[in-house]
Amino acid sequence: MTNPISTPLFDGKLVRLTPLDHEKDPEIVSGWTHNAEYVRMTSLEPVRPLTAAQVKKQFEQIDKEMDEGRRLFHYAIRPKENDRLIGEARIEWIEWSNGTAQLKIGLPDPGDRRKGIGSDVLRMLLRVSFRELNLHHLEVVLPEYNVPALRFFEKHGFKIEVRRRQAVNRGGRRWDLISMAILRPEWEALNEER
């Protein structure tokens, strides 16, 4: 029998999930906060550009929350071949007694999208969530205008569960907020087919 825990959880085909680098990453993340298109696609909070110093303070908060609360896992996405920061991934709002959590994946540079990196990251997040954290229900929350993301998660087996009507107000009109989720048995079934 092969060693059951030998699967590398944080090494994918194209990228790795790694910790934040408090020295080098704040400058890059500060740039992401100035990228209005990216923020509006991935965040519900209004666009709010931050300096590198402010980002660094946020990193400290994240570390503190991960260490103390154990309800958050925040990863930096880097290519396998170098240390360049190209995105962020989170498993958050973990409720252990019920086995639930929310996922978040962000790739700010459009040049990094549509290359399989998103799928690579999601596969790792799902594996960690279901096989290490033993969760049952994983959710993503997306504004209805983020059509590429809705299609992406649907492709990976997520189903639409909730539509919070007109909960987002951007660009001069209101939009619905959509929750999609995948359950552990569904993921197990999909994985067996491969």
Partner: protein, 191 residues
């Protein structure tokens, strides 16, 4: 004065009014209510746990005393007898999106199922829509609490979806029901 004029008593209903209490008094109340684990399991996601009053008071001092744009907490107090019977709060307020979540719990068993909760909910919706000027209010309710679902529907909330198998309690999984009400729906309901 009519209830929809700016000078009227915004936080007062037919059976109850919404009030504030000190962290000291509030922690005493809540400790009492959560001795009943059924109460907790009707209102909270996390595991039922008999919190100490000291711990609760400290938690409340930290979170309730400061002026917070993101939440508004009230105690539900009967008009007749000034009895504190439950809690209701707006949380996760986002002004840019115009949305807030609402949560309610009637901690005193003899006041459940008699319209006190509905009265409190109507007060807070009025507050949310005409004082905070929000656009929609959301809530989540456990599948195993059909009485609450019906009460919320009577207030005008509509079911917007279900998070499947979201909870595990008493050996099986349950859905979490998501509901929402828009300001125009609330206005039509109360015209």
């Amino acid at each position: 004065m009519k209830n929809d004029e700016p000078g009227s008593d915004l936080l007062r209903g037919k059976l109850v009014r919404l009030s504030a209490v000190s962290p000291e008094d509030l922690s005493k109340l809540i400790v009492g209510w959560i001795q009943n684990s059924e109460y907790w399991r009707l209102i909270a996601n996390g595991p039922s746990f008999p919190l100490s009053q000291e711990g609760l008071r400290k938690f409340m001092e930290k979170h309730l005393e400061k002026d917070d744009l993101r939440s508004c907490f009230f105690v539900i107090r009967t008009l007749d007898g000034d009895r504190d019977i439950g809690e209701i709060e707006l949380g996760g307020i986002s002004y840019a999106r115009g949305e807030s979540y609402v949560g309610i719990g009637i901690g005193e068993p003899e006041y459940q199922g008699r319209g006190y909760g509905t009265d409190a909910m109507n007060i807070i919706l009025h507050f949310a829509f005409t004082e905070l000027n929000l656009y929609r209010v959301s809530l989540t309710v456990f599948e195993y609490n059909p009485r609450a679902v019906r009460a919320y529907e009577k207030c005008g909330f509509k079911v917007e979806g279900r998070a499947r198998e979201f909870f595990q309690r008493e050996g099986r999984r349950w859905d979490l029901i998501h509901m929402g009400i828009l300001r125009e729906e609330w206005q039509a309901q109360n015209a």
